[in-house]
């Protein structure tokens, strides 16, 4: 049943591209809806997913198959937590990107940092970001990268 939570998210996205997944998304949504209205889920979706995964493992990794089959509820709970955890960070990253121009303004390692923090951005203004104006004529065309080091930007 817990897995339906993951399924509804994943299948809704995949459902944009294929009708097959739209049916699964509907089924998992129904299951989630019943769950939040305190009724037992009528769908066998979780059972089908468990069987499918176990079947894939049964020949090459019989012990792993057995572990998966027996602990499927726990595994699906872990995957649900992981999904919602990563979903939280993704949303935060997107928000940061929109507001500050980088998905993680406090670090330089964010792989989704598309480029440069503008010195005039809210973040720089708020943090008093020391913008070095390397080779550019302030104040009209400077940008900061993740660590607020100014690089040449586009004037205007």
């Amino acid at each position: 049943m817990v897995l339906c939570l993951v399924a509804v998210v994943i299948f809704s996205v995949l459902g944009i591209f294929s009708a097959k997944y739209r049916i699964l998304a509907k089924e998992s949504f129904k299951c989630v809806f019943r769950m939040i209205t305190f009724r037992p889920c009528e769908s066998s979706l979780e059972q089908r997913i468990r069987s499918k995964i176990t079947s894939k493992l049964i020949k090459p990794f019989p012990s792993l198959a057995k572990f998966t089959y027996k602990n499927f509820k726990l595994l699906s709970l872990i995957f649900t937590i992981l999904l919602f955890g990563s979903l939280f960070y993704t949303v935060r990253g997107v928000y940061n990107l929109a507001v500050y121009g980088t998905c993680d303004p406090h670090s330089t390692t964010c792989i989704f940092n598309p480029g440069h923090l503008h010195c005039g951005s809210e973040h720089c203004l708020a943090t008093g970001c020391p913008c070095e104006e390397k080779g550019c004529e302030a104040p009209d065309h400077v940008g900061c990268d993740g660590n607020c080091t100014c690089v040449v930007g586009t004037c205007g």
Binding site: Q47, S51, I58, K59, A65, K66, Y69
Partner: protein, 406 residues
Amino acid sequence: MTTTNLEKTRFDFPAINQKINGRPVIYFDNACMSLRPKQVIQAMNEYYEQYPACAGRSMHKFASKVNEKMSEARDIMANFIGAKKSEEIIFTRNTTEGLNLVANSLNFKHGDVVVTSDREHNSNLIPWQIISKTKKIVHKVVRSKKDMTFDLEIFEKNMNKNVKLVSMVHTSNLDGYTLPVEKIIRIAHDYGSLVMLDCAQSVPHKKIDVKKLNVDFVAFSGHKMVGPSGIGILYGKYHLLEEMNPFLVGGDTVSNTTYDSHTLLKPPEKFEAGLQNYAGNIGLGAAAKYLDNIGRENIEKHEIEINRFITQNITDIPSLSILGPEEVEQRGGIFSFNIKDIHFHDVAMMLDNIANIMIRSGQHCVHSWFNANKIEGSARASLYFYNTKEEAKIFVEKLKEISKLR
């Protein structure tokens, strides 16, 4: 059946000659629906391509051809079950409709008793539950013995002069067990009761002679005997059919009507309301011919042989329990089972995922038996003449792999 004959028959079934995900198909769900040979498909296509018209109503060449083919199909079906005459054969949609037709057309009155077994398909249970309310009849259920065989003693104890009908499954779809119908019919007739047999799982797999059995009604479906779906047969002794009122009425059931009266045709027409499933009827005739060519004695022997092979080779799976009598001969072509701690739906899905082995799982429309015995359900492999020992070998192998998951 010899291996060469078997290989030849397999060639007739397009569905088992295909591969899915690069693997062959192993179809073990024949109790639900059998596959169809090319001969049946061709017979139906011929109708649609060459003479797709009404029988009985029109006078043109197409109509005459349909008439001829329909009457031929009826004759074949009468022969197939040993009926005295073709007029005793009523074309229905399926077994369920046949059983319902009798339930609704027999002249039941308050206090009449209907006796069934405890392993009836819903189709031979619900009609009696409803009629016990609407017509105030009494429905009695004969419990099986502990070993799941029929209890003739209890049955006889339930019999009395008020029993109007004994309606029983011939071969159970639950476990393949065949009830001792010769004795049941004899006892029932001694008490003046009629007997109806639900032969959905017997007619396709074993030779049935309604005359020899002296049974009053028999119902079965086309789709379980390599025939088309949406077509079935109700056999009834002619004098009984004559006395019964039709359950459905309308076009093709009457010779004349006025604004306030009608004249019903004789059986079987009076029971075949509306335009018929001509392609289905003709296809069913072709299916019966096909089975007669193979011989149902051979079919029965072959299925038991494969079931024996499976039963003998699963003995080293201690977690596997078989539903039904211990002896294979008593279970025919059905292997109904559970693996401890592994849900029957999981077993079915994994067999399908791993090796395209198609079986059924659940309560097989016999919920009442599962509820009474507090068993959640079972997985069920059901065999037919086109199944092979090699397929059974793969099935056993995969069951062993799955059983290790617990």
